[in-house]
Symmetry: C4
């Protein structure tokens, strides 16, 4: 039994694609960067991923249309000066349980390996106490050669320094076991707001590493939209919590 239910939307062939992971996390830095990249470079969705390990709910999108919790795979061909093929993993959620996290990442990696990936980049935020003017990008990697590439791109190397929790870490770890080189790019962010500047910082480093150009003008706009959507969701959640504190918490476990 697979934990990830992968629905292939389009049969594609890619040449040694690079795998890029950017699921929701701290400050939504990675997700924001990847969503923008998909938009600007006109990436095409070729697979959707569902899982029993995702939160047991749906989202209400624009005009009352319901959307599933899911991960999505996009591809891009001949990107930048090196004509690279890319597979980009984005989505609105990660698995909830530790075992779910592992098994979903494993299933997805097994799937994208079928397209011949040999390298990967995972993207996320790194917590700092205060917002800063120019967020730095930190990195860690599977091997010394990749560390050198990160250094050449002006990325600070984290050393002996905690861990990387969730999909951004697990993909790299699973990759190492299968001989796939990779790195994690982490943008400094206080993490408690949608951080467009940090997303821009890691996107610039990624474009430098993969040798492509990307316009980041609309990143701020996109960040604003996400901010509003999340504010609404939080308000709703807060209302529920307020009720829970005055009434019967048990009845509030489910909406619906």
């Amino acid at each position: 039994m697979n934990t990830a239910e992968i629905n292939i939307l389009k049969e594609i062939e890619l040449e040694n694609p690079i795998f890029i992971e950017a699921l929701p996390g701290l400050g939504h830095v990675g997700k924001l960067a990847a969503d923008h990249m998909i938009d600007e470079l006109n990436a095409t969705k070729f697979a959707e991923i569902y899982s029993p390990a995702f939160p047991p709910q749906v989202l209400i999108k624009e005009d009352g249309i319901i959307g599933n919790m899911l991960n999505e795979l996009y591809y891009l061909k001949d990107v930048g000066e090196d004509n690279l093929d890319l597979i980009v993993l984005v989505g609105n959620t990660q698995a909830l349980s530790p075992e779910g996290q592992y098994l979903v990442c494993k299933d997805i990696l097994d799937f994208v390996k079928g397209y011949g990936i040999t390298r990967m980049f995972t993207m996320g935020g790194m917590a700092i106490p205060q917002p800063v003017e120019n967020p730095k990008v930190y990195g860690a990697a599977s091997d010394e050669a990749t560390i050198e590439l990160l250094k050449e791109a002006g990325i600070e190397i984290r050393s002996n320094d905690g861990g990387i929790v969730g999909a951004s870490g697990l993909f790299l770890g699973l990759g190492i076991r299968q001989g796939i080189q990779g790195a994690c790019l982490m943008g400094e962010t206080p993490g408690y707001f949608i951080d467009a500047e940090s997303a821009e910082a890691i996107l610039k480093k990624l474009s430098l590493l993969l040798n492509f150009e990307i316009n980041t003008d609309k990143l701020d706009e996109r960040a604003e939209e996400t901010r509003q959507m999340i504010a609404k969701a939080q308000q709703m959640e807060q209302d529920l919590i307020n009720k829970a504190n005055t009434g019967n918490a048990d009845d509030l476990r489910y909406i619906g």
Copy 2:
């Protein structure tokens, strides 16, 4: 291995039945509406559903008779002016864990799909801070055509507005993936009491949507009964908590 253990009580044949979900949730709005509908329209139970994902307990019913935690499927034939066949899912519980929620809903949907369902309605409550005189009914749906039907029935559309947690959301999400149109009807409710008025509101909207008539006079009575049952259960729970705070909490984990 299935997570839902479905015990078929009666072999039936239905014509393009509509699936209605109303498991316990906020203010017991959906459950109350469906229980009343089953009673008033004389629906027949044709399957019982058990699961390892349900709470590990039984209930003590009238005269000391023990009842299992379970979900139940009822059917109705030739309902209303459109002679619709209906399958109604009710019960005294939902699965506890996120993965259990997903897997139980998936098993049940696979089962009812065997009867040819092509549409579904899920029913629940939507949290509001204060009780109101005439609770509104909100909706969200799988597609624009269904949104239009909801609007025609005077249902307010929620837009870009949080999520629907639990079975009411999951059934719709799983349905979308299989081409089954559906909507969620959510009655405004403070959620901390059994809300007969909110249940009446969604039941009226459902009868409008499906073009059948239903007498709601006994809804208040039914709400009162449920209220008393829950008050008893809560008192018992409170007693346990009081003890836990004065003695050894560990010994109190189980009754029995």
Copy 3:
């Protein structure tokens, strides 16, 4: 895959045995009653049950010898004036997770059904705010005929009154689905100490129901021993918690 790993120690044949469940719970009432019965009536152990769902630990018994977390099955032949055969389930633990609870009980019930059981009694405590001089015994049952038997034995019937959580409830619920009649006997207990008087009360009712005689003189002694063992375990746990509050809680997750 079974959740309960059952190790059969002795091949036995029984005539329509009655199944008695008495795993640890509130006030250790059921366990204490069953342990005493096993001792006084010289029951023989015929199976041991292990499970991944039990707490991930071992116990240190007398003289430093290590004991597994386990459930045990004993049998008795020709008990009392009705020459009844009995299977008694005791142990030092119940499964931790809700799903583990269900699956372990289901595996055990499937196993004992192989011996032809058609009736069962589960035993536990029922929380009351204060200790009382003569704890009452409350009951609930699978069917009206069994309720009548309980009433004849002077057992108070609980009605419309909460639930029975854990193995004592689950066995009855699973039994009902398979046509096995049963009842739960619950002795009043504050629950925060090992309650020999409550255990004695339910044991007397059980002996009345099954028509056998049992000397309860040593019950107090047994309760005292259990009390001391638990006090030690709690002291150790408290020491750990005190440390956790002053140092690094994470390091304290495991002993060993």
Copy 4:
């Protein structure tokens, strides 16, 4: 499906090896002792163990290189005067969930049994309120003969005294069910710092029991390194918690 994914690095043959477990736990006592032993006696790694039950993350090691959460098996041949073969289990984690704990230990024990082990020692810390000058070593064992061996080595026997939680307990319990004799050595430790003295104490007892010599001079140094690594990880975690208390905790669930 196995919960432990075992990657064999080297085919080996051993003669009646003794299995030694020392995964992270209280005061890192067992791990520190075993890591030192592996280093001093030049043990060779022959297998790596991964699991979906391990924490869903990776670690950032020296120079930014990423390391998986894993357990490792080392072997030693002809150790000490009795020319004993040893298998040593170390690692940077234990499984998170209770069921994961059980299943990973079971898979590993099944694996090392293939090498013919008939005895085992598990090592860990035992909580005491205050640091002491000369930490004592306590023990518990599978059988009376092993208890005698522990007493001869000057190990204090714990009796009727709580439990052993996690891998150090589970391996012994699983071993007992398969006829494998074993003991747990527990060094006194306050637990809230890396305790080199306690590690030294249990290592000396182990060398006495297995009749080999080991230099413990570098144990302090190793403890200091571990201390610094953990301090960094904790600082990082604390920063996250501080942010969580001022901002949106939900966004902080993942780094990456």
